[in-house]
C-alpha cells in the first residue's frame, strides 16, 4: 500500500505570541512542531503499512527548517520524507499549497492513500485536504475518527465526525482522508527510528523539480490576500449585587433586560 502523509510544521501554540499592535504572529521564539492532527494521520499511515505492507512517504511544503518535522516523522516510523521547498513557494494560500502538494504526489507515482490532518492549528482553514483531493481527482473524506480496511484491501469503512454525531462512509482507494485526534494515539519515537532519521537523506524538491508553473505557486499563485488580522477582545465586566435576595433578583433581571438578553 503506497501511503502519502502530508504534514505541516506549525508554531507550538504554547510558545507563540500574537502582536496585537501589528496583528501578526510572533513566530521568532516559537518552537516548531508537527501539526498535532498530522501526527494522527501519520500514525494511521504507519499502522496501515505495518498491516498491509508498502511504504509511508511524508511530504511537507515549507522553509528549509521544515526538514526537522520530516526527521521527526521518520523517527516515528515513516519510510521516506520529501521536503518541498523553494523561495517561490512562500506566501502560498490553500490554492497554491494544494497545487504544489498535488504536483509532488503526481511525481511520486500511483498512490493508494493520502492522509492529512483535519486542519492546521495555525492556518486553520481545513481546506488543504479537500483541495488536494480535488486536484488529484480522488474521493475525499474529512474528519475521519475510525477506519477499517475490508478484506479486498481496497474498500474502507469510515466514521466521519459531524456536528451532531457521525456519518458511516464506504469509500474505495485511492482516496484522501483528513483525520481527527480520536482516530488513534500517536506512538512514541523509537531509538532506532531516531538514529535512522538522523542519518536519512531528505530530498528537496523545488518548483523546477516539480515542473510547477511559476504563476501557480507561492504568493503569486495565491488569490487570497490577508488584509488584516486581529485578536478578538473579550471584555469581562464584573459587578457585585448587594441587598436582600429579592432585591438582587430584581436588579439582575433589570440588568439582563438592559443588555437585551431577556
Amino acid at each position: 500500500m503506497n501511503i502519502v502523509v502530508c504534514i505541516k510544521q506549525v508554531p507550538d501554540a504554547q510558545s507563540v505570541h500574537f502582536d496585537t499592535e501589528k496583528g501578526t504572529l510572533v513566530r521568532g521564539e516559537a518552537e516548531a512542531i508537527i501539526n498535532p492532527f498530522d501526527l494522527h494521520a501519520l500514525e494511521a499511515g504507519i499502522q496501515m503499512r505495518d498491516s498491509y505492507g508498502g511504504e509511508v512517504v511524508v511530504l511537507t511544503m515549507g522553509p528549509p527548517q521544515a526538514e526537522d518535522a520530516l526527521r521527526e516523522a521518520l523517527g516515528l516510523g515513516a519510510d521516506r520524507g520529501i521536503l518541498l521547498s523553494d523561495r517561490a513557494f512562500a506566501g502560498a494560500d490553500t490554492l497554491a499549497t494544494t497545487y504544489t502538494l498535488a504536483k509532488a504526489i503526481d511525481r511520486l507515482g500511483p498512490v493508494d492513500l493520502v492522509l492529512c490532518g483535519r486542519q492546521a492549528i495555525d492556518g486553520d482553514t481545513a481546506q488543504v485536504g479537500p483541495g488536494l483531493a480535488t486536484r488529484l481527482g480522488i474521493p475525499c473524506v474529512t474528519s475521519v475518527s475510525t477506519l477499517e480496511v475490508l478484506d479486498d484491501r481496497k474498500t474502507m469503512h469510515l466514521r466521519r465526525v459531524c456536528e451532531e454525531g457521525y456519518d458511516l462512509i464506504e469509500v474505495e482507494m485511492p482516496a484522501l482522508l483528513t483525520v481527527v485526534a480520536s482516530l488513534n494515539t500517536p506512538r512514541l519515537p523509537s531509538l532506532k527510528g531516531k538514529i535512522r532519521a538522523r542519518k536519512a537523506e531528505i530530498p528537496v524538491w523545488d518548483a523546477q523539480e516539480l515542473g510547477a508553473e511559476p504563476g501557480r505557486v507561492g504568493l503569486v499563485g495565491s488569490p487570497t490576500q490577508v488584509v488584516s488580522t486581529s485578536v478578538p477582545k473579550f471584555e469581562a465586566r464584573r459587578e457585585m449585587l448587594e441587598g436582600s435576595p429579592e432585591g438582587q433578583v430584581e436588579a439582575l433581571v433589570a440588568r439582563l433586560k438592559e443588555a437585551g438578553i431577556l
Binding site: 512514541l188 519515537p189 523509537s190 531509538l191 531516531k194 538522523r198
Partner: protein
C-alpha cells in the same frame, strides 16, 4: 544558568530525551495509581519496548543497539525521574539479561537475546533466598544432573518481576561441598515443569514492581539450559552485579532529581510568616545540599559507567561506589524533600511521600549499602597491600 556539561553525543542526548519523554508522558500521569493499586506496568513496558530501550546494551546482531553501561544509566536515570518501581521492572530485565550476554553460548544468545532486546520477553534474576541474602554463598536451591536434564529444587525469595517475566536466570548449588565454587547458573522459562511462583510480597514501597518467590519442585530443564560452566555461578552473579550497580546509582540520581524539583517548586510557592519558605536560610541550605549531592552523584555514576564501557576489568569497587553514594543521596534527598513539604509532604496528595518510601529499597537491593562499603574496603586493603 549553566548546567554541568557531560559531553553527551547526539545519540546519547536522544536516549535522554526519549526516556524523559516516556517518563513525562507515560509514567508520571499513572504512577500514583500504579502505586496505590500495586499494578504491574505492562503497558509502559510495551512503550519502552517500542522505543527500543530494552536493547540498549545488546549487540546489533541480536537486534539491540550495542551501547553500554553508560547509555543504560542515562535511560534509567530519566525513567526513575518518573517512577522507580517502573524503572526497577525495566532494569531487572537487564539484570537477568546480562548473564546471558556475558556467559551464554551462541545458541543461548541467539535463542534469548533477540526477544530480550525487543522487549517481547521480560527477564528476572534469581539469587536471593530466605536464608541467603548478603551471604549469597549460603543458597540452598540445588540442581542435580539426571541424564539429559537438570532437576532443580528449592525456593528463591524476593525476585523482581517474579511471575511476570518469561525468562529467569537463577543460581543454584551443584556441588554443595565446594561452597561458593559449587554454584551454577541456569536459564529457566516460565512454564517449565515444576517451576511455579509463590506469594507476592506486600512492601513498603516499589509497589508497581512485582516481588515474588520462585518455587522449584523437581523442576526438570534440558541440559543445555546451564549458563556458563558448572561452578561459575557466583562469578557470573558478581560480574552481572558489577555491570548493573551503576544503573542502580543512576536510578537514585533520577529519583533524587525528581524530589529536588518538587521541593524547590513547593518552597517557592509555600507562604509562611508572610514569605515563601525558600526565603528561609534553613530551607535554602537544605536545598543547596540536595542539589550539590545530586550533581556529585551524577558525575560519579557517569564517570564510572564510562570507565566500565572503556573496557576496564575488576570494577567491583568502582561499581559499588557508584551505587552506594548515589543511593544514599537518594534516601537523604527524598527524606529532606518530605521535610520541606512539611505535613503536605507526608500526604499522598504530593509525590514526595511515594518517593521517600520507594527510595529505601535502593539501599537494600543489588547488595546492601553495607555490603557495598565492604567491597570498597576490601578493595582498598588489597590495593594498598601491593603498594
Amino acid at each position: 544558568m549553566t548546567q554541568v556539561n557531560y559531553f553527551l553525543t547526539e545519540e546519547q542526548q536522544m536516549i535522554v530525551d526519549l526516556a524523559r519523554q516516556i517518563a513525562v508522558e507515560k509514567i508520571i500521569p499513572v504512577r500514583a495509581e500504579l502505586d496505590r493499586e500495586e499494578k504491574f506496568p505492562r503497558e509502559i513496558m510495551r512503550d519502552l519496548a517500542q522505543a527500543d530501550l530494552f536493547g540498549l546494551y545488546i549487540p546489533e546482531e541480536y537486534g539491540g543497539l550495542a551501547r553500554g553501561c553508560f547509555e543504560n544509566c542515562l535511560a534509567v536515570e530519566q525513567l526513575a525521574y518518573g517512577c522507580i518501581a517502573v524503572t526497577t521492572t525495566f532494569a531487572a530485565s537487564a539484570l537477568g539479561g546480562y548473564p546471558i550476554l556475558l556467559f551464554g553460548s551462541d545458541e543461548q544468545k541467539a535463542r534469548y537475546l533477540p526477544d530480550i532486546a525487543s522487549g517481547r520477553r521480560l527477564v528476572a534474576f534469581g539469587l536471593t533466598e530466605a536464608n541467603a541474602g548478603s551471604d549469597a554463598a549460603r543458597i540452598q536451591t540445588t540442581a542435580v544432573e539426571d541424564g539429559d536434564y537438570w532437576v532443580i529444587n528449592g525456593t528463591k525469595q524476593w525476585i523482581t518481576s517474579g511471575g511476570e517475566a518469561d525468562i529467569y536466570t537463577i543460581i543454584a548449588m551443584t556441588d554443595r561441598k565446594k561452597g561458593a565454587r559449587g554454584a551454577t547458573a541456569f536459564i529457566l522459562e516460565k512454564g517449565d515443569p515444576g517451576f511455579g511462583f509463590g506469594k507476592k510480597e506486600r512492601k513498603m514501597g516499589l509497589m508497581a514492581s512485582s516481588t515474588r518467590e520462585l518455587l522449584f519442585n523437581d523442576c526438570r530443564i534440558p541440559k543445555e539450559r546451564i549458563l556458563g560452566r558448572r561452578g561459575q555461578g557466583f562469578i557470573l552473579a558478581m560480574k552481572t552485579l558489577d555491570l548493573a550497580r551503576p544503573g542502580i546509582g543512576a536510578i537514585g540520581v533520577g529519583l533524587a532529581q525528581a524530589a529536588l524539583d518538587e521541593a524547590v517548586k513547593y518552597a517557592r510557592q509555600r507562604i509562611q510568616f508572610d514569605q515563601p519558605i525558600i526565603s528561609f536560610q534553613a530551607i535554602q541550605h537544605m536545598l543547596a545540599d540536595m542539589a550539590t549531592r545530586i550533581e556529585a552523584s551524577r558525575a560519579l555514576v557517569y564517570s564510572i559507567a564510562r570507565t566500565i564501557d572503556a573496557g576496564a576489568r575488576d570494577v567491583a569497587k568502582l561499581s559499588a561506589m557508584a551505587k552506594v553514594f548515589a543511593t544514599d543521596t537518594a534516601m537523604q534527598v527524598t527524606t529532606d524533600a518530605v521535610q520541606i513539604l512539611g505535613g503536605y509532604g507526608y500526604m499522598k496528595d504530593y509525590p514526595v511521600e511515594k518517593m521517600m518510601r520507594d527510595a529505601k529499597v535502593l539501599q537494600i537491593y543489588e547488595g546492601t549499602n553495607q555490603i557495598m562499603r565492604n567491597i570498597i574496603g576490601k578493595a582498598l586493603n588489597k590495593e594498598y597491600a601491593k603498594k
